[in-house]
C-alpha cells in the first residue's frame, strides 16, 4: 500500500487551462521526496489536491489506500504552508499555537527544535526563519505519517537550513514517515532527498537526483545544476 497514490490526475481552476495534466505518482512509506518545478508548474496545487482542498477534474487520489473522497483521517497528515492567511495583528503566541494543535508529541518537538525560548513570543513577531521552524514543529507535533512541506526552508540561512533538514530527516527516517518537500533551492533539494519529482504541469521526471539534472536544466533553462550537486 502506498502512502500517496495518484493516477491520471487532471486539474484546472477555470476549465480553460490545465494546471495539472495527467499526473501519476506514488509515494512509499518512509520516502523523502523532493518536488521541484518552475513557478506556476502546479506544485502547490498538487499539495492542495492531496489535502482535499481542491477537487480534481478527473483522476484518482488515494491516501493510505483510501480514496480521498472517503478519507477522514486528516490527522495523519502534517502540512507546512507556503503562505499563512493570518493577519499582521494575529496575536497568538507559539505556546498557544502548539496547545491548539493538541500535539501528542509536543514536548519532544519543543526540545528537538529548541522551541522552549520561543513559547511566550507572538508567532508573527518572530523572524521568517523562526516562523518556519515553528510551522515545522506544529506539523510534526501531531505525529503525522505524511508530511507535506511547501518551501519549508525559505528565509533560513544555509547553516540553519541544513541543521533543520538534518534534524527533520533523522526524525522522519527513523520513524518511517513519508515527506514530500517543495523547494526552489534545486542544489539543496537534490542533495537532500531520496527521490526527485520534476513537475511542469505534467510530471517530467521521477527518479534519483543524478539523473534528474538534464531534465531540470531543460525545465528551468539553466546550465549550472550539476555544479550544485555534492
Amino acid at each position: 500500500m502506498y502512502v500517496v497514490e495518484i493516477k491520471n490526475l487532471y486539474f484546472s481552476y477555470d476549465d480553460s487551462f490545465l494546471v495539472l495534466d495527467n499526473v501519476s505518482l506514488n509515494i512509499k512509506k518512509g520516502e523523502f521526496v523532493g518536488l521541484i518545478g518552475p513557478n506556476g508548474a502546479g506544485k502547490t496545487t498538487l499539495f492542495k489536491l492531496i489535502l482535499g482542498l481542491l477537487k480534481p477534474l478527473s483522476g484518482l487520489i488515494k491516501l493510505f489506500g483510501t480514496d480521498i473522497r472517503n478519507f477522514k483521517d486528516w490527522k495523519r497528515i502534517g502540512y507546512v504552508p507556503q503562505k499563512l492567511n493570518s493577519d499582521y495583528f494575529f496575536p497568538a503566541t507559539v505556546g498557544e499555537l502548539l496547545n491548539l494543535t493538541k500535539g501528542t508529541r509536543k514536548e519532544e518537538i519543543i526540545a528537538l527544535f529548541h522551541l522552549d525560548s520561543l513559547l511566550e513570543k507572538q508567532f508573527l513577531k518572530l523572524s521568517g526563519g523562526q516562523q518556519q521552524i515553528v510551522l515545522l514543529g506544529l506539523a510534526l507535533s501531531t505525529d503525522p505519517d505524511l508530511l507535506l512541506l511547501d518551501e519549508p526552508t525559505a528565509g533560513l540561512d544555509v547553516h540553519f537550513r541544513n541543521h533543520i533538514i538534518h534534524t527533520l530527516k533523522n526524525f522522519t527516517v527513523k520513524e518511517g514517515k513519508s515527506v514530500i518537500m517543495i523547494s526552489h533551492d534545486i542544489g539543496f533539494i537534490l542533495n537532500t532527498v531520496d527521490r526527485v519529482l520534476c513537475l511542469n504541469r505534467s510530471l517530467q521526471y521521477q527518479g534519483n537526483s543524478r539523473d534528474a539534472i538534464g531534465v531540470i536544466e531543460n525545465m528551468f533553462g539553466i546550465r549550472e545544476v550539476k555544479s550544485g550537486i555534492s
Binding site: L53, Y79, P81, N85, D87, T93, T101, Q122
Partner: protein, 265 residues
C-alpha cells in the same frame, strides 16, 4: 451615584455589559478574518429588517434577527465563491438594506416616528425583555467561542492547517457570521444602527494592538468594552448626553491613547 438605584439605569448597565462582552469577543475574530466592515454592513442591512417588521407588524427583534442572520450568511456564501471581493459584497448588502428601509420609511408612518431611536439607540431605554434577549445572545456567543475556540484561532491562522486539525471551515464561518449578526441586532438598541459596528471594531482593535497573546487580546477587548459602557453611561447621566455617543466616544478616546502610545514606543 443615587441614579444606580433606578431600574432603568441598572437594566441599561447590565444590557450594555452583555452586549459589550459579545461584541468585544466576536469583533476580534471578525477583524482577524479581515471582515471589520461586516459590522457596518450588517447593521445597515438590519435597518431593512427593522423596517419590514414595522410594516408587517411583527415582533421587531425576531424578524430583524432572522433577516440579518440571513443577510450575513448570504454575504458569507457569495464571498466564499471568491468571484467578487468580500468587502464589495458587504457594501452591496449595506446599500440594499438601507434602500429597503428608505422605501418602507416612505410607506410607514410608524417607522418614520421611531427612526431616530433605531439610528442612534438608547441603552437607558431598554426593556426587561431586551435585557433577556441580550443575555440569551451573550450566552450563545460564549457557547460558540468556548466550543470552537481552538478551531476559530486555527482558522484565523491558516485554513489548510485548521482543516487538517479537524475544523469544519464552512460551518464555523457561517456560525461566526450568524453570531456577529445577532450581536449587531442587539447592539442596535444600545448604540443604534450607525454606531453598532463601533462596538465590534474598536475594543477588538485595542485588544489586537496591545495584547501579547490571543487570550490577553480577548480580555483587553472585553475590558475596554466594559469600561466604555460604564463610563459612557455615567457621563451621559451626569451631563445629560446621548449614551450611545458617550460610549463610542470613550472607545475612540481609548483607541487614540493606545495608538499614540504605540507609535511613540
Amino acid at each position: 451615584m443615587e441614579f444606580l438605584n433606578y431600574d432603568f439605569v441598572q437594566r441599561g448597565i447590565l444590557t450594555g455589559l452583555l452586549i459589550g462582552a459579545s461584541s468585544a469577543v466576536v469583533g476580534v475574530f471578525l477583524i482577524l478574518r479581515r471582515m471589520a466592515f461586516l459590522g457596518a454592513g450588517l447593521s445597515h442591512a438590519a435597518f431593512g429588517g427593522i423596517a419590514l417588521s414595522m410594516i408587517i407588524d411583527v415582533e421587531p427583534f425576531l424578524l430583524t434577527a432572522l433577516f440579518t442572520v440571513t443577510v450575513g450568511n448570504l454575504i458569507q456564501l457569495i464571498s466564499s465563491k471568491r468571484k467578487v471581493p468580500a468587502d464589495a459584497v458587504i457594501a452591496l448588502f449595506f446599500s440594499a438594506g438601507v434602500a429597503l428601509a428608505v422605501i418602507l420609511l416612505g410607506i410607514s408612518k410608524k417607522l418614520s416616528e421611531n427612526v431616530f431611536g433605531y439610528l442612534f439607540g438608547n441603552i437607558l431605554m431598554v426593556t426587561e425583555k431586551e435585557l433577556i434577549i441580550s443575555l440569551a445572545v451573550a450566552s450563545f456567543v460564549a457557547l460558540f467561542v468556548v466550543f470552537f475556540y481552538r478551531n476559530l484561532i486555527l482558522l484565523t491562522f491558516n485554513e489548510e492547517i485548521a482543516k487538517l486539525r479537524g475544523a469544519h471551515i464552512n460551518l464555523i464561518n457561517h456560525l461566526l457570521i450568524s453570531v456577529a449578526s445577532l450581536t449587531v441586532v442587539v447592539s442596535i438598541k444600545a448604540v443604534g444602527i450607525i454606531l453598532s459596528s463601533s462596538m465590534l471594531v474598536i475594543p477588538a482593535l485595542i485588544g489586537l494592538i496591545t495584547g501579547k497573546s490571543f487570550r490577553s487580546c480577548l480580555f483587553i477587548s472585553m475590558a475596554v468594552s466594559f469600561f466604555s459602557v460604564l463610563v459612557g453611561i455615567f457621563i451621559s447621566l451626569y451631563y445629560n448626553l446621548p449614551p450611545s455617543g458617550s460610549i463610542v466616544g470613550i472607545m475612540v478616546f481609548l483607541f487614540a491613547i493606545t495608538f499614540v502610545k504605540k507609535i511613540l514606543k
